[in-house]
Each structure stands twice: as C-alpha cells, then as structure tokens.
Symmetry: C2
C-alpha cells in the first residue's frame, strides 16, 4: 500500500470526520495523529494508526520531522506486526534525541555512555586492585597475629573470624 | 536553496560530466555521491558535496535510506558550517545502526549501554563497600598488633608501614 500517494489529497478530518465515515466505511471515525497531520484519509488498515493515536500528535510530528512519513511507513512495512510498536518507540526516541541535539542526536548519547562505561571500568579495576592489595596485607597481618598469640589462648582475637576476613567478592 | 526541486531532473553525470562542465560553470567535474545517487545536477554550492565525496557512495545511500535526502539537507542548512561534518557523521552512524537493527536502531545500543552502566555502578559500589569493610578490619588488626608488639621493638612489623596500609583510594 503506497501511503505517499494520498498525502495532501484530503482536506481535513476535524469536525466532519464523524459524518464522513458514514458514507465511506474504510474511513475510521477519528483519524490517527499521522493522517490528521498529513491531511489524508485514515483507512481502516492504516499502518500508522495503531502507533500514533489522535491523542498524541506530537509523537508523530517529531518522528515525521526527522525520518519523514514515507520512511516511517517503509520501516514498519518491512517488519512483522509484533515488532512495529517497538520500532515506533525507538524511532520516536531517536527523533527526540535529534531534536534536542541537532548535531549529535542519539550518537552523542552513545558516545557519552561509552565514555561513562570506560570510566566505570577503570574505577572498578582500580577498586579491585586495591582490594587485592588490602587482602594481601591483611593475610600478612593475620599470620603475624596468629604467631604472636599462639601461646596465649585468652587473647582477644575474635575479629580474626574467617567469616569477616575471607575473600570479599566471588 | 531548495534541493528537492532538482531531484530526478538530470539524467546521469557518469561519462559526460567532464565535457558537460565546460559549458555550465556551476557544475563541478565530479558530482558528489549524493547528487550522483539522486541523479541531479551537483552545483558548486551543493550543501551535501563536502560530506559525501564520490569515493564514498555507500555513506549517502545508507543515510538517504533512513532519513531521506531532503531531511538531511534540511538538518545541514539549520546548522552552522562548522558543525555540519559532525552532524553528517552522527546521521550516518544512526542510519547504520538502524540498518543493522531495524527494530531498535541506536535506541537499542543506548539501552544496552545504560544497562552496562547500571551493572558497573552496582559492581563498583560493592567493591568500594568491600574495601571499606576490609579497611575497618585492618584498622582493628593493626591496633591489636601495635598493642601486642609495643613492648618488643625487635618484632618484625615492617608490613605495618603506613605507606602500604593507608587509605587506598582518594
């Protein structure tokens, strides 16, 4: 179905849409946000209608501005119906990102997240190296304490409990 | 300048482009990849030419398939020239992501990176908590060792050097 053929051929669906649908059964009572914005007839099998309800016109406006209506329809028709809602969500998300950041869009967010991942990986590697170092020091200390207290069973060595001093991450 | 008006009005630029440019000074010798693919005249002030050289036709093909030529031109014209190269790079990056993953595109990559950041933050928080716990245990041990060895200066307590046992991250 070529939706682009009908773009601009119908006037409006606002006030007259309800009575108009009486004589043309293929037109739904309330056109979807996409057809309303594109000023075209919203057929019963409109591929955009399930994902762009009339209550959310901004959702289509933003996606339309970045990808164009014909591209959005092309993307959806290339996917099985069960994946189309997710595809529309991701397209709207990307279009929002491009609107907020016209230079970098989603790619900018990906770049920032990749840098954050790198920084966190470096911090985690350092924290784990510090832990190993501290565990090594503690093993030496513990050996020393056991040696010093081996002849005095009354010594207060309860903090050497292995439940506390064992490996700290697995 | 409305580039969309000229789309499809020119035949090809392949073999005849060099001689054609002799009589029409506004046409460059080699059309950019965008104009070649769109089969239109590549003017000297073509807004796409600096970013879509004839040597990289795939770059424009992919971006064109996802955003459409008129949208790409619109995005570029809304930006100062110094930001256009970055904008084209990000558009091509996003178009590649959408081609590889038609359902989630760049949004999928962002979702995966956000999950990775959350996991790394949780691992880092745990590693730091473990470090604090271990430092607390070591402080107790150290106090005990100092108490036990205070009367025996010959004891081998060199591993209690503060350079090794101080705070491990700052």
């Amino acid at each position: 179905m070529d939706y682009s053929d009908t773009i601009g051929t119908t006037a409006t669906f606002s006030a007259a849409s309800s009575s108009f649908s009486q004589s043309t059964p293929t037109v739904v009572v309330s056109p979807c946000a996409a057809c309303k914005i594109l000023r075209r007839r919203c057929a019963k099998d409109c591929v955009l209608a399930p994902y762009f309800p009339p209550s959310e016109p901004l959702k289509f406006t933003i996606a339309h501005r970045v990808f164009g209506a014909s591209n959005i329809i092309k993307f959806l028709l290339e996917l099985p119906e069960c994946q189309r809602a997710d595809a529309v969500s991701s397209l709207v998300y990307e279009a929002n990102a491009r609107t907020r950041d016209p230079v970098y869009g989603c790619a900018g967010a990906i770049c920032r997240l990749q840098m954050q991942v790198s920084e966190l990986q470096a911090q985690l590697a350092k924290a784990r190296a510090d832990l190993l170092n501290l565990q090594c020091q503690q093993a030496k200390l513990r050996a020393f304490v056991y040696k010093e207290t081996s002849g005095s069973p009354q010594s207060n060595t309860c903090f050497l409990d292995h439940n506390n001093a064992g490996p700290l991450w697995t």
